[in-house]
């Protein structure tokens, strides 16, 4: 699904974040990207999303080189991704409206797939994520958890095959965070999504990443990968294997610094 080859990314000041970096993600896999702040996690996600161009090397998703945002890739950010002037309902419909705006041109929206049932799709996702009571509210009026539910609904309404998440639950309180982590696991399995979730917390990486990519000191040359086959089930949180996985990731994180 994702292929990075010889990827190099430099900031305008010349400092490199990635240099000759290679990484592979197969379709349907659940990945977590773990690392301290400033290690290039978010940059990696923006590169995958086509929001930032690579300085050298190639980023391919589903075999296509990524030069601009790809219609089938969904992106969820930590916060500030919702239109403050649009209601929850209008925010969820936004992606579909953008698709309707361009038509199925293959560039901004998947080719040969006209949006015909915007209202119905929007309504389905409002109900699915329990947002009906606040569908008419603005993002400034609802809680952080509800905002992220709205962001998830907006993204999934576009029926993506790849979901990129940048610290999506970092600003939430613990119960809300667990709640949304479980929801993510469920939706992921249901829709057979390939997911890449960027996080700075070991516990989140251990729970959501069947594979964990550990980033560290700049520039990142090689991908440090930790296999974590137990992940993907909310019950994993209570197991001894989970504690072991966290310890293992902590070690890797230390080694990567």
């Amino acid at each position: 699904m994702i292929e990075l080859d010889g990827l190099t990314f430099r900031y305008p000041d010349g400092s490199a974040v990635f240099e000759g970096f290679a990484w592979r993600v197969a379709a349907g896999e659940a990945w977590a990207v773990l690392g301290p702040s400033g290690c290039g996690k978010t940059t990696l996600l923006y590169l995958l999303a086509g929001l930032r161009p690579a300085s050298a090397g190639e980023v391919r998703v589903a075999g296509e080189p990524i030069l601009r945002p790809r219609p089938r890739t969904g992106l969820i950010l930590q916060d500030f991704g919702l239109l403050p002037w649009a209601t929850v309902r209008d925010n969820i419909a936004l992606g579909l409206r953008v698709r309707g705006f361009y038509g199925p041109d293959g560039k901004h929206a998947p080719a040969g797939e006209a949006v015909t049932a915007r209202r119905e799709i929007t309504q389905t996702w409002i109900e699915r994520l329990g947002l009906e009571p606040i569908a008419g509210s603005y993002p400034g009026q609802i809680s952080g958890g509800q905002r992220q539910r709205t962001a998830i609904a907006r993204t999934l309404a576009l029926n993506p095959d790849l979901l990129l998440m940048d610290e999506p639950f970092a600003a939430l309180d613990a119960p809300t965070r667990e709640d949304l982590q479980n929801l993510t696991l469920k939706l992921r399995r249901e829709r057979r999504l390939t997911t890449v979730i960027v996080t700075h917390t070991i516990e989140e990486a251990a729970l959501l990443g069947e594979h964990v990519l550990v980033l560290g000191r700049l520039p990142n040359h090689t991908a440090r990968i930790v296999a974590n086959p137990g992940a993907g089930d909310p019950a994993f949180r209570a197991s001894a294997a989970y504690v072991a996985a966290c310890a293992r990731l902590r070690q890797e994180l230390e080694a990567a610094r």
């Binding site: 929001l51 945002p69 698709r99």
Partner: protein, 246 residues
């Protein structure tokens, strides 16, 4: 601002006016009720036509200012390099009292309506430009990134992000500059016209010495400003409901 508080303020000002009229007791300050009576008669005649002429000029200036200042403000706000070049120019021109340009503009644009519209336009233009630019510059990059990830290119970003984001700034700028615009209208209409509230006030005040009529003109000008204020305010409530949601 609520309508009821405007009414109370108008009554209070009327009482003060009446007291002042009693104290002064000269034709130059007629009592408010007399002015209101003259206003009621005149507004269906000459004064009404002058009111409409002035209203037309202000609205035309507003429209002209919006269609020119908004794209310019959006461009400056989104392109820091462009802003670095133009920002000093704006801040040099912004504080110049536009009234001093009246003779120059009349000289170049002649005695047409266009000259008067351009004078008011200049005042509104800078206000809107600066507010829209700051609004566009303050848009969170995360917001733009996430809407782009939904497939939005330049045109869709304008339609779904930049345009709605700058609406409050446009309307706020209009609301803030209405007072100045109407005040300058008076100066603009002193010259080379037979229509407009400025002309009406000047004619009756300084030429005919008909003070009740002059004050009726002043009252009309105040109502023009107030009406425009509530017009823009209503527009903002309609177009930007999220600003009023609690």
């Amino acid at each position: 601002m609520r309508r009821s508080s405007v009414l109370i303020a108008a009554l209070a000002l009327g009482v003060l006016w009446q007291l002042a009229a009693w104290v002064v007791h000269r034709p130059i300050l007629p009592p408010p009720l007399e002015v209101v009576r003259v206003f009621a008669v005149e507004i269906v005649g000459d004064l009404g036509l002058d009111f409409l002429a002035s209203l037309g000029r202000v609205v035309a200036s507003m429209a002209l200012a919006v269609v020119t200042a908004v794209p310019a403000g959006l461009a400056l706000g989104q392109m820091p390099a462009l802003n670095r070049i133009f920002s000093p120019v704006i801040y040099i021109l912004y504080p110049i009292p536009k009234v001093v340009l009246v003779p120059v503009i009349l000289l170049f644009l002649g005695i047409s309506d266009l000259a008067k519209v351009v004078i008011i336009f200049l005042i509104l233009f800078f206000q809107i430009l600066v507010l829209v630019r700051d609004q566009a510059a303050s848009l969170r990059p995360e917001l733009v990134a996430s809407v782009r990830s939904l497939g939005a290119g330049r045109r869709a970003l304008f339609r779904f992000v930049y345009y709605p984001a700058s609406l409050p700034a446009i309307l706020t700028a209009l609301r803030q500059s209405i007072g100045t615009a109407v005040a300058v209208l008076y100066v603009a209409e002193l010259f080379a016209t037979q229509r407009g509230l400025g002309y009406y006030i000047y004619l009756h005040g300084s030429t005919l010495f008909d003070y009740p009529r002059m004050y009726a003109g002043v009252l009309a000008m105040s109502l023009l400003g107030l009406g425009l204020y509530f017009g823009v305010d209503g527009l903002q409530r309609r177009l930007c409901p999220w600003q009023f949601a609690r």
